[in-house]
């Protein structure tokens, strides 16, 4: 049981698939236009991940080593088809808004990565919990990114604006809060100045529509990876072990050309003789920092 709890913690915080391992970036960027989409995608992925981990672990002694990858893909694709049909039948709204990305859970590298790295070598119960933990970590990350993008881009949270929740629109609500602390008719010049500054600022708030469009996704991810770089540097300075356990291809997708399979495949002689650039030391070790998830 202890091992199972450890697996949950590992997936949620220590090796969070999005914030720490940077896996499965395509769906992360594509569906996080709102918190509810992120949550739906995360949970669908979690179901597939837990079930496929379970089955792959159960069959780990039956599947011949040579054909294991095709076998894993068939198992994963089966569960994805199941989830897609269930969503289509019972939550058609979500099926509509996630669209093609449900089918593409098949090629999400988290799932094949966990099958390779964990489920194929471990017992059934820890593998199941590993899937649940990783899935929950992915769900949490997607929901958080969705919340940020939705709030900045549409001014709502989970589709609710301030008006729905409290009966007053968000700006008025905030202005009310400001009035509690700062008296607009105060004799103090500074208080009046700050009151005007804050209320003007709030009243002129318009959501940045670009955040829920495609470019916003890239900017959010850019900030996330920048935070990761900082955390990694700090971890290194403190002497912590910042190299993470391998995923499927022994690396994360984002640094594929620097440390992953692409490095082996693409003009190795050119890479070797290449002048070491200034920022290469940031990506020398294979994986990013540890505390990223906690930071979020």
């Amino acid at each position: 049981m202890k091992q199972c709890m450890e697996r949950l913690y590992n997936g949620l915080i220590k090796e969070n698939p999005t914030f720490v391992l940077m896996l499965g970036m395509c769906p992360t960027l594509a569906v996080t236009t709102s918190a509810i989409n992120g949550l739906g995608m995360g949970l669908s992925t979690m179901v597939v991940l837990a079930l496929s981990n379970f089955l792959i672990s159960a069959l780990r002694k039956v599947i011949p080593d040579k054909v294991r990858i095709p076998a894993y893909i068939v198992i994963i694709a089966t569960f994805v088809t199941l989830v897609e049909l269930l969503l289509h039948a019972y939550i058609p709204v979500l099926h509509e808004s996630l669209g093609i990305y449900i089918s593409l859970i098949v090629v999400n590298c988290i799932i094949l990565g966990r099958a390779e790295a964990y489920a194929s070598k471990n017992k059934i119960l820890p593998s199941l919990f590993d899937g649940i933990g990783m899935g929950l970590g992915f769900t949490m990350a997607l929901t958080l990114i969705g919340l940020v993008r939705e709030f900045l881009g549409a001014g709502t949270l989970f589709g609710f604006s301030g008006a729905d929740l409290y009966g007053t629109p968000l700006p008025e609500l905030l202005i009310g809060l400001v009035e509690r602390w700062l008296d607009p008719n105060s004799s103090n010049e500074t208080v009046r100045f700050f009151y005007k500054l804050l209320t003007d600022e709030i009243a002129s708030f318009t959501p940045m529509g670009i955040m829920i469009l495609a470019p916003g996704a890239f900017f959010v991810l850019a900030v996330l990876t920048a935070i990761q770089n900082v955390m990694k540097e700090r971890g290194k300075a403190k002497g912590k072990d910042v190299s993470k356990i391998q995923s499927g291809c022994n690396s994360d997708c984002m640094n594929c050309s620097d440390s992953g399979c692409a490095k082996r495949l693409i003009e190795p002689e050119e890479l070797d003789s290449e002048e070491v650039c200034d920022f290469d030391d940031l990506f020398d070790d294979e994986n990013p920092g540890e505390e990223e998830a906690a930071d979020e």
Binding site: L29, I73, I100, I227, E267
Partner: protein, 195 residues
């Protein structure tokens, strides 16, 4: 589905520029970010993707129309497509290695990277979802992959230029590439009025 030339052009423009496969649909992000350090390798990758996606759209379209639909097992499309694409890429690699040496030299190293590329499966499933016929499927596949090639070559060009820039330390490496991609995505939003 009306198969006039105009319709095909609209589909081609739509999937190569307006809803660009990487910059607005986020498919094939891994090679887009991973293999875009140099224009030369980016062009190789673009070429390999054009080759594989066009071929995969054709094969997937044939399979869907002549096997899955007649047997009434269209719900198995995800499983069938992913296996067929993986096998197809392996087969193409072997075939090129044996018979078309020059093409293999140019594209060979990129082929294994494309096996589980989500853009390939994405295009095949989009073709089915939008009920494209065989010809429109192939045109859509070709246009989508040309969109990918355009995006990755532009990004590689920009990356070669910013290599020597003085970038704030936390943003060095991947973050600045993502910011660049975001700016490119804004530029590609401009195509939205095209059709």
């Amino acid at each position: 589905m009306n198969d006039s030339i105009v319709q095909l052009i609209v589909i081609a423009l739509g999937s190569s520029l307006v809803s660009n496969v990487v910059l607005s649909q986020f498919l094939g992000l891994c090679p887009f970010l991973g293999v875009s350090k140099k224009v030369k390798t980016a062009a190789g990758m673009g070429g390999a993707v054009i080759f594989v996606i066009t071929l995969a759209s054709l094969v997937a379209g044939l399979l869907y129309e002549f096997i899955l639909v007649p047997l009434g097992i269209t719900f198995l499309k995800t499983i069938v497509f992913i296996l067929v694409i993986a096998a197809l890429v392996q087969f193409v690699e072997l075939f090129l290695k044996k018979y078309v040496k020059s093409l293999y030299k140019a594209l060979g190293v990129f082929l294994p990277l494309i096996t589980t590329n989500c853009a390939v499966l994405g295009v095949a499933i989009t073709n089915v979802n939008l009920e494209y016929n065989l010809l429109t499927s192939v045109v859509n596949g070709f246009a989508t992959s040309v969109g990918f090639a355009i995006a990755i070559i532009i990004l590689a060009g920009i990356r070669e230029k910013i290599e020597y820039n003085d970038i704030p330390k936390p943003f060095r490496g991947m973050p600045i590439v993502l910011v660049t991609a975001g700016l490119m995505a804004i530029a590609f939003c401009g195509f939205a009025g095209l059709i």
